[in-house]
Symmetry: C4
Subunit: 248 residues, 4 copies
C-alpha cells in the first residue's frame, strides 16, 4: 500500500461512516501515514465526513499539530494523535457520536459484544469521563493532555466510550476500524433490547479470541463489505483492487 492509496481509502472511509450513520456533521476518521509512523492524515475542520474530498485531508504529527498546512484542523485531533502515540500497532482511528452507543456512556451498564459482528469491540470497554481529571469542560478533547488521558483509559482495548459524548476506536487498518465502527452501534442496540427482555448471553472471551485470530483485513470476506458499503455511499467507483488479488 502506498500513500496515495491510503488517502483514497480515507476518503472512502469518511463517506462510508457518514452513510452508515456512524458520524453525522461531526466525527472523524484518520489513518497513520503508511511510510512515516509519526504522522497521520485526517480531514480539515470545514469538511463534514459525507463531503470529504481528497483535498480536505491534512497531515498531522503525533503532537496533533498540522504539518505545513494553514487550514483549521479539527479541535479533537488530539484523540487521534494520542492513540497513535500510545498504540504503535494502531493504524487507523475513528471518533464518533453514534447515537446508540451514547446510553452506555452515561450509565453503569458495561457494553459487551453480544453478536458475532460485534466481536471486534473486544472483551472490555471502559468509559472515560473527562470530568474525572479535567472538571467542567465543553467535553471536547482539545489538547494533548486530554488526549493522553483518554488513551490511558482506553489502554489496550479496541474501543473506549466517552461519557456524554461518543466513542473512540483504533484498529490495524482503515477497513478494520470502519467495520468495527459500523457494527458497534448495532451491537449496542441488540444489547439494549436484550436487556429489556432479561438476562442475556454475550460472546465468550474464547469466541472473541477465535474471531480475532481468524480475521484478515484483505480477505474476500472482508472486501465484500468494504465494496458494499462504498457502493451504498456512492463511492464504489473509488474502491481499487483488493490487495493480494489479481482480479479487480
Amino acid at each position: 500500500m502506498i500513500g496515495l492509496e491510503a488517502l483514497n481509502e480515507l476518503v472512502i472511509a469518511n463517506r462510508i461512516l457518514a452513510n452508515e450513520n456512524v458520524v453525522d456533521a461531526y466525527g472523524h476518521v484518520s489513518v497513520r501515514h503508511p511510510g512515516k509512523p509519526e504522522r497521520f492524515f485526517m480531514a480539515q475542520m470545514l469538511a463534514a465526513p459525507e463531503m470529504v474530498e481528497r483535498d480536505d485531508l491534512m497531515e498531522f504529527g503525533l503532537d496533533g499539530e498540522p504539518v505545513n498546512d494553514v487550514r483549521t484542523p479539527s479541535i479533537e485531533r488530539f484523540i487521534h494523535s494520542a492513540i497513535y502515540e500510545a498504540r504503535p500497532e494502531v493504524q487507523a482511528v475513528v471518533h464518533a457520536h453514534a447515537e446508540d452507543t451514547l446510553p452506555f456512556g452515561i450509565t453503569s451498564v458495561p457494553l459487551r459484544p453480544v453478536i458475532h459482528s460485534g466481536s471486534f469491540i473486544g472483551t472490555h470497554v471502559s468509559v472515560w469521563d473527562i470530568e474525572d481529571n479535567f472538571g467542567d469542560t465543553n467535553l471536547l478533547v482539545s489538547n494533548t493532555a486530554q488526549g493522553r488521558d483518554l488513551a490511558r483509559c482506553m489502554g489496550a482495548d479496541n474501543v473506549v466510550l466517552m461519557r456524554g459524548h461518543g466513542f473512540a476506536a483504533g484498529a490495524r487498518s482503515l477497513i478494520d476500524v470502519v467495520r468495527l465502527s459500523v457494527y458497534l452501534p448495532r451491537n449496542a442496540r441488540v444489547q439494549l433490547a436484550a436487556m429489556q427482555m432479561g438476562k442475556f448471553k454475550p460472546l465468550s472471551d474464547g469466541e472473541i479470541a477465535v474471531r480475532a485470530a481468524s480475521y484478515k483485513t484483505y480477505s474476500e470476506q472482508t472486501w465484500r463489505a468494504w465494496q458494499y458499503w462504498a457502493n451504498r455511499a456512492g463511492c464504489g467507483h473509488m474502491v481499487g483492487k483488493r490487495p493480494g488479488s489479481d482480479a479487480k
Copy 2:
C-alpha cells in the same frame, strides 16, 4: 447580515428542519427582522417546511399580525411573536412536534441534556400545559394570551415543552435554533434509552456553561454542520459565504 440574507437562511432552515425530521407537514421556524426588531419573518400557512420558497415568507409584527399581506398566516404565529416580545435577545424561534420529544411532555420525567450536542437545551426545561390556564382547547397556541402564557412558562430557558403537542425553542441566531432543534430529539432518545438501563449522568451545569461560552455561531466548526445539513436537504447551493470568512 442584511435582510435578504436572513430570508435566504430562513428558507434553508425550513428545508433542513424538514429533512432532519424535526418538522413534518407542520411546525415552523421564524427569524427576527435583522433591521427592525419588532418584526419577524415566517412562512405562510400553505407551505409545509420542506416546500418553503422565498416567496412564501410573510412579515409579522410582535402582535402576531401580518404586515401588508393578505395570505393566510400560520395559526400558531403567536408562539413566535410572544417569544420575540418577551426575549429581546432571541433572534430565531422554532416550534415543532418532533416525535421523540413528545413523551417528555406527557410524563413527569424532566428532559435533561445528556450528550454534549444537547447542551444547548440548557439546565432547565419546563413543560407548559395549555389546559392549566385555558381549559379544553385544540392545543394550538391561537392567540396572544396563549402565546404570552407559553413565553412566561419558558422564562429565560432555551426550550419549553408543550404537553401533548411539541416544543418551542429560541436562540440568538437561525443557525443556533436549527442546531438546537436537530439535537433535541437525539438527546431525548438517548435519555429515554439510558432510563431503561438505570441511573444516568446528565451534563453538569458547569459543562453546560462552558459549552455555551465556547460556542460561536459562525465558527468554522458550526458552519460545517450548517453546510452539511443544507447539502443533505438538497439546498447546499443556497448557502452563502460564511460571515467573517474570506473563502466561500
Copy 3:
C-alpha cells in the same frame, strides 16, 4: 366533487399511505362513491398501494362484491363494505398493518390519543379479536359476517384495532382517513415510550371534542399536509385545486 376527482384522490391516498409506511405490500384504502352511497372504490388485488394506478380501481357494492369487474378483488374488501353499511357518515376507510399499532392489539393496554395530531383517534378504541366469534381463522376478514362483526365492535368509533393483524379506520373524507392513519402509528409510538417512563397524560375528552369541532377537511391547514404528503410520495403533480379555493 365529482367522481373523477374522487378516483384521483384515491390513487394519491394509496401512494401517500405507502410512502408514510402505513401500508406496505398489503393494506388498502377505499372511498365511497360520491354519487351512489351504496357503492365504493378500492384497488384490485394485484396492485400494492405504492403501485396503484387509476386503472387498478374497482367498484364494489355494500355486499363487498365487484360491480361488473372480473378482476380479483382484495379478500378483505368486507372490512370496507361492512363499515360503509353500518356507518352512513363514513366516506372513506383504511385497513392497514402499521407496525406500531400492532402491540396495542395483542395486549390489554388501551390505545389513547396522547398527542394533538392523534386526537382524531377519538376517545375510545376497541380491540376486535376475530377468534371470539369465528374461532381459528387465517385472521383475514374474508366474508360479510366477519366484516359486520368488526363493524359492530368498532361501533361509532373512528378506529378499531384488530388483534394480531392491524387496524381499520373510517372518516368523513379520504383526506381525513389518510391523516388519521398517518398519525395513528406516531401516537402509538409516543404512548409506548411514555409508558416506559411512567404515568402519562392523554388528551382529555374535552380536548378531543374541541379539536374535532375546529377541524375542516379542505382548510388551508389541512391541504398543506395533503400536498406535502403527496409531494413526498412523488405524486404532488396529481393534486388538484383545493375545493373552495380560487388559487391552485
Copy 4:
C-alpha cells in the same frame, strides 16, 4: 419452472432481502436446483446480496462443495447444504443477521408469531448455540458437522435462531422464504414492544395451521408482494410472468 427462471428469481431474492434490511453486507439466500434436488445455487463470496448478478451464482452439492467453480464460495454454505440434505421438501434457504431477531437469540424469551404475517414462523422456534457442541468458535457455520448440528436443532421448524449470530429459515419456494424473512424481524419488533407493555397474545396453533393451509406461493395475493418488493429494490423489471397466470 425451468432452471433459468429459478436463477433469475434468486437474483431478485438477493436484492429484495438487501433492500428490506434482512441482509446487509452479509447473509445469503439459496435455491435448490429445480431439476437436480441434490444441487443448489447461491452467490459467490465476493458479492454482497444487494450487488448480486446472475454471473455471481454458483452451483453446490449437498456436501457444500462448489460444482466446477473455482471462485471462493461463502464460508457458511454449510447452513444451506445441511438444511437441503435434512429437509427434502425445502426448496429455498435464507441465512441472515437481521438485527431485530438477534435479541431473541441471546435471551431465554421464545420468539412467537404474534402478527398474522408472522404466522409462517411456525409454532416453535429453537435457538441453536454453536458453543454447545463445538465450544469456542468464530460463530460461523464453517463445515458439514456444524451445518448438520444446526439442521438437527431446526428439526421440522421453518426457522432456527442462531445464538449471537442470526437465523436460518427454509421454505417450499424462494418467494416463501423471502416472505418469511421479511416479516420475521417485524414480528420480533412487535413481540418486543408488546413485552414492554405486559402480557401478550400470540397466534394460536390453530391460526398458524389455518394460515399455512390457505396460503399459495403463486396466488395473486402473494405475487403482489413479490412484485412490490422487487420494485422497491429496483429490479421490478426482472420479475417475469406469474406462474399459472396469463397476464404478465
